[in-house]
Structure formats: structure tokens, C-alpha cells
Symmetry: C2
């Protein structure tokens, strides 16, 4: 992937996304010792950065492909993102969701015109269900993160951040499947001379950290983290980009995630989901290393169940 791919992607999706604000907090700067620029993808359409990648993937389809529609499997933000991105272009979207997905999430997908196909809550069942739609309906499968167009789309948040703050020393993003971090790392590589990319990952789902250690894709043994957006496995396309362009991955405990989330809510008065707090928690964990540095943090999203908060 080249710099021009990222630039073209950003231009392509601009009419379909918000250019989200970059916020700062005097108190969180004092607490961390760094000069932090929070890129607020919690204010993005559907409440998360996923809208960027979904829009780019759909806009890349040929006219014939668009007529057939798209399909994905997701119980989270990508389900809503693909449904809305498809609706914007008058394209049919089939969303495979586990039968135990929260009804609020199903309603949101329906609200964006997506057709939900329920399946058993196992990876095998959802892959099979998506495969069936591909074969029976001819719909194009769009993976939530293991897809080059999706990766490029997710990288555009960091492009915007660097446009406004070209002298960042570092940028942090959370790591789940690796869509956001790989896009971010590519953007930092192509749009900055000095900005290094750091990943934040919960100890409980540290497959990316272990994959960098061993040199091959490792699997999570549990998904026992509050950061529900990060419970997925690292993607095949994402791993080599992370190996090449991510400086290091910093792991954080569940308590550190909750504490970082509470700090952002209380001090910045904005709602971020636990996955977003993982990136900030990672900075706090190694704050000595970033003292007096200019640091960007991608706040990935703000979709939380207000009736089930950890504090």
C-alpha cells in the first residue's frame, strides 16, 4: 500500500464520514506528563472509526458488485458501519450476527437498513452463514478488518490527526483484529517523518503482543476483557503491517482500562468505549517514556451500554 492509496481513500470517503474533532485536556496532560491530542472517533458516524473502512470498501466495488450487495459478520460496530455505508449508496447489506447479540445492536443495524441473518454464536457458524449469503445471493464479503480497503479507510483518522498536528512524536491506537492499528501505522509512516505508532492491548487478549514476540500469528485463549471491540483475533493482512510499522505494543490490565476510561469520562466529559480507553491506558502505563512528547491517541468509539458501566 502506498501513500497515494491512503490519499485517494481519504478523498473518496470524505463525503460519507465526519471529520472528527481533536480534543485536548489540561488535566490529562498534567497526569500523563505528555502533550496529548485525542482524535475523537467516538463522534464519528455510527459512533466509531469503523465507518471509515466500511465506506472505503463499499465505494471500491464495481457497479455489478454493488447490485449484488455486501455481507459481513459482526456483532459490533462494523455491523452498523457496513449497513449505513451500504444504505448511503442504495446497496443491500446482509449482516450475520450471533443470536445472542444485544438487541440494541440488532435494532441499530435494522435502523440503517441492514438485513440481519442470525447464527449460532461461534466463529464457525458465522463464517458458514456469511459464506451461504455469498453463494446464494452473490453478495460481496467485506471482512471487518482483514481487508486492504478497510485498513486504508481506518488509516484516514490518523491522516486527519497529522494534518492538524504534523509534529506528533507518537500515535496510540487499540489493537483488536488490527484494522485500526495497521491503518494508523501506515498513515504515520507515510504522513510523518518522526511519528511512531504504539498499540494498546488488554493482557487478557494479547494475541498481537505475542504474535510480535513469536513472529507468527498467535491466538487468544480467552476473550475475558471489558474491551469488547478487541476480543477478535489478529488478521492475516494486518499482522505484517503491524510487524513492519508498529514500534511496540503495550499491554494493560482490566483495572487500568477502567481507570483510564473513567479519567476520560470525568475529565473530558466525553463518552468513550473501553477499547478507546485501552490506548490511553497504554500511554499512562509507560508515561515516563513519553514525557513532554506530543502524542496522538485515536479514541476508537463511544458505543457503550449505559446500563452496564464498570464504575
Amino acid at each position: 500500500m502506498q501513500k497515494s492509496d491512503l490519499l485517494n481513500c481519504h478523498k473518496r470517503i470524505a463525503p460519507y464520514i465526519h471529520r472528527t474533532p481533536v480534543l485536548t485536556s489540561r488535566i490529562l496532560n498534567i497526569l500523563s506528563g505528555a502533550d496529548i491530542y485525542f482524535k475523537c472517533e467516538n463522534f464519528q458516524k455510527i459512533g466509531a472509526f469503523k465507518m471509515r473502512g466500511a465506506a472505503n470498501a463499499i465505494l471500491q466495488l464495481s457497479e455489478e458488485e454493488k447490485e449484488k450487495g455486501v455481507v459481513t459478520h459482526s456483532s459490533g460496530n462494523f455491523a452498523q458501519a457496513l449497513a449505513l455505508a451500504a444504505q448511503n449508496l442504495g446497496i443491500k447489506a446482509y449482516i450475520v450476527m450471533p443470536s445472542n447479540a444485544a438487541s440494541v445492536k440488532k435494532e441499530a443495524v435494522k435502523g440503517y437498513g441492514g438485513e440481519i441473518i442470525e447464527c449460532e454464536p461461534t466463529p464457525a457458524a458465522r463464517e458458514l452463514a456469511a459464506k451461504n449469503i455469498e453463494e446464494n445471493k452473490g453478495a460481496i464479503f467485506i471482512h471487518p478488518f482483514d481487508n486492504s480497503d478497510v485498513i486504508l479507510g481506518q488509516g484516514t483518522a490518523c491522516i486527519e490527526l497529522l494534518e492538524e498536528h504534523p509534529d506528533l512524536d507518537a500515535v496510540f491506537a487499540p489493537i483488536g483484529g488490527g484494522g485500526l492499528i495497521s491503518g494508523t501505522a501506515l498513515a504515520a509512516h507515510f504522513f510523518s517523518e518522526k511519528c511512531k505508532t504504539f498499540g494498546g492491548e488488554p493482557y487478557e487478549v494479547d494475541d498481537a503482543y505475542r504474535s510480535l514476540q513469536s513472529g507468527k500469528i498467535e491466538r487468544n485463549l480467552t476473550i475475558n476483557t471489558i474491551a469488547d471491540g478487541l476480543r477478535t483475533h489478529l488478521g492475516e493482512l494486518n499482522f505484517p503491517i503491524i510487524r513492519q510499522h508498529v514500534d511496540s505494543i503495550i499491554r494493560v490490565t482490566e483495572d487500568e482500562i477502567i481507570e483510564a476510561m473513567k479519567l476520560i469520562w470525568e475529565r473530558m466529559k466525553i463518552i468513550v468505549e473501553p477499547s478507546s480507553a485501552v490506548a490511553f491506558a497504554a500511554l499512562l502505563k509507560e508515561k515516563e517514556k513519553f514525557r513532554n512528547k506530543k502524542v496522538g491517541i485515536i479514541l476508537s468509539g463511544g458505543n457503550v451500554d449505559l446500563t452496564d458501566l464498570p464504575f
Copy 2:
């Protein structure tokens, strides 16, 4: 009070406050039928609009007065606001707080260098305690809302809103003691040809509504509302301004406040306190009247106890 008083006030306090952003929400526009511009004082210093009035009052003091310090009684946002505004100018601030005030609020006041004087949690006790400080220390008493300089300061949020959106048809603010609504109404009167001011008030503390009905200041019989910032009585200086410049007051139930608060949190991903939600709830209550109108809403603050949420 003249237009020039408001203009001079805004200029005077500008270095000491944030120019807060104005946010919009497609979903909340659809839900309400109006075109809403949210003025986000939840992002103001100390997390509420109170910083504006406190800064203006302190900046108006003579040099001799500044040397003697200031005193107020407040268990809420004005306590923090006066402490920080005083600290900014190297002035001593005595803050009378009830003995049962939340410790997080006391800590915040101390964090801004305020000296706390505890008193029994009754209006009589706090007035006596403040009076003692006035007499013994010579400190200047600054009332949280029943003070012209405070009223002018609170009006500057609406000035900024009208600078960015000069064609507003209406502006909403919550009513507690009346500082914010009277400042807002003055700003709308002087800075717009057509913008009318509406107040939102909980049924449980509807003293301002009843005062407008009877033509004299009425008292609240209970303070049984979740909107903790609105539990005070209407001020003497505030009432005539409200009578003259506020179009009407719309009352809302506790359930309507909580529902409006949840909508703002979930849809806008920002944290607002219940008092802010009162203004939005009032618009929703009479939304037919504001269909297709351009409406400003002053989101008064974002200081909430995250461990004690109503949803």
C-alpha cells in the same frame, strides 16, 4: 444592563474561559423536528458555565478588594468556579460548603486553592458562615447567581452561540437560581432581532414558573429533583430580567429529564449533568412549537457522579 456591558464582560473574561464548541446531532434533530445547536458548557473550565460569571465578578473587583479575597456559599459548580477564578488572579477564595457536601466536590475546591469553611447544611447556616467571613476577613461576598456581574458573565455563552449562529429562532436554558437564564435572555435580547429565550424547569422545583404566574418570587416547597444544579430559589435580581425577557418556562418531569439526558449521552457521546438535560427535555416537551426552527440549547455542565447514574 446594556449591550455594552455584555460586550465588555465577554472581552474581560475571554482569557480565563474556554470558547466552548457548538455541536449538532442529526439524530436529535430528527427526533425533535428542530435544527438544534448545542452550546457545550460541559466542556467549560471546571465543567460548567459557572466559570464565566465567577471570572467576571472577580475581574470587576478593585485592587483593595482583591487583596481581601472573596467568599461564597455553594456546594456545587460555583464553588469550584470561584476558587479557580480567584486562583487565576492570585486571590484568596473562602468557600462555605455544607458539611454533607460530596467529598469529591470538596477535593475539587481544594485543588483550585479554595479554603473551605464547613457549615450545617441549612440556608441559614451557610449565610451566617459567609457573613462571618465577610466581617472577620473583609472578604467580598460573591453570590452564585443573584449578582449583576455573575449574570453578565453567564450571558456570554449565548453571545458566542449567536456569533456562530446569528439566525437562531430560540434559545433554551435551565432555570435554578436564574443566573444562566437571565444572562442568556439578556444576550438574546441585545444580540438577536428574533431569538426568543425559553426556560426549562423541573416540576419538582418550579418556583420560577410559579413566580411568573403570580408576579412575585415564589419558593420551592421541595428540592426533590435529580437536577441538583436547579434546587436553589430564584434570585431577586434574576426575576425581573426573566419577567421581561424570557418568553416562557416549560416544566418537565423527572422521567423526561432522565430520558433527555440518556439521549444526549447515547447519541452525542458527551456527558452532561441532569440540569443540562432539563433544557433539552423542555424543547422535546413542546417540540411541535419548534418544528423546523433553529434552536440553541445551553448545555450547562457535565459534572456528574459516574457511580450514581439514573440509568
